[in-house]
């Protein structure tokens, strides 16, 4: 069975800190790894990674995939209170099935 494990489960940081969120996976027929941010409602898409070693960047957020070691990290620099959310990692395997991790709950305080 496909498995995605995220760590830490929760994290509290001060505004301005840099955080690294981890995601490791075991999946049959890996196709891609995705990061989502979930605030109060639906998850919103952040990144999709398919190739090892290529960093994807969007503003203060960046992510990279290591297909040999089967993990990905999501970095957020200069955190702001608006970054407070649950960050979900998901891996796409066979038949477009997305397997989600349990998420990392990030809280950014003033």
């Amino acid at each position: 069975e496909d498995k995605v494990v995220q760590s830490p489960l929760s994290l509290v940081v001060h505004e301005g800190d840099t955080v690294t969120l981890n995601c490791s996976y075991e999946v049959t027929n890996f196709r891609s790894l995705l990061w989502y941010k979930q605030e109060k409602k639906a998850p919103t898409f952040l990144f999709m990674l398919t190739s090892s070693g290529i960093e994807k960047k969007s503003g203060r957020l960046s992510s990279i995939l290591d297909k040999k070691e089967l993990f990905s990290i999501l970095n957020i620099t200069a955190t702001q209170t608006g970054d407070s959310a649950i960050y979900l990692c998901a891996v796409a395997g066979t038949a477009s099935k997305l397997t989600f991790g349990t998420g990392t709950r990030l809280q950014v305080t003033l």
Binding site: P43, M48, L88, A92, A95, S96, G103
Partner: protein
């Protein structure tokens, strides 16, 4: 314009009742999904349809029956509701099917189901 919409947003009902949740996407996507998110925020796929055809059916009680009248709609009907069915149900859609490179999924706003 909302890309993926669900109705209702909230649903409170008694145990044993039958209820439906509707989902529509106006993105022209081929594939639609239903997910269940429990109180611990764990998202788990339930079903996936590609061009009205069922392609993923996870271990879900057969009280849950999806129906796709056309590729823009995927409804979820639940019979004989139980307390454990209380959760947020998300509909999602993506472009592409089995043979194509995977594309991101767009999520609807969710339906919070509470079974009393």
């Amino acid at each position: 314009d909302t890309a993926v919409s669900q109705t209702p947003k909230y649903l409170v009902t008694q145990m044993g009742n039958d209820k439906s949740i509707k989902c529509e996407q106006n993105l022209g996507h081929d594939t639609m999904y239903w997910y269940k998110q429990d109180s611990k925020k764990f998202l788990k796929i339930m079903f996936s349809y590609n061009n009205k055809e069922l392609i993923i059916n996870e271990t879900v009680p057969n009280r849950f029956s999806p129906k796709s009248p056309d590729k823009a709609h995927l409804n979820l009907h639940i019979n004989s509701l139980e307390l454990g069915d209380s959760a947020v149900y998300f509909c999602a859609s993506s472009q592409g099917g089995l043979a194509e490179p995977y594309n991101e999924q767009f999520f609807g706003p969710g339906t919070r189901l509470t079974v009393l």
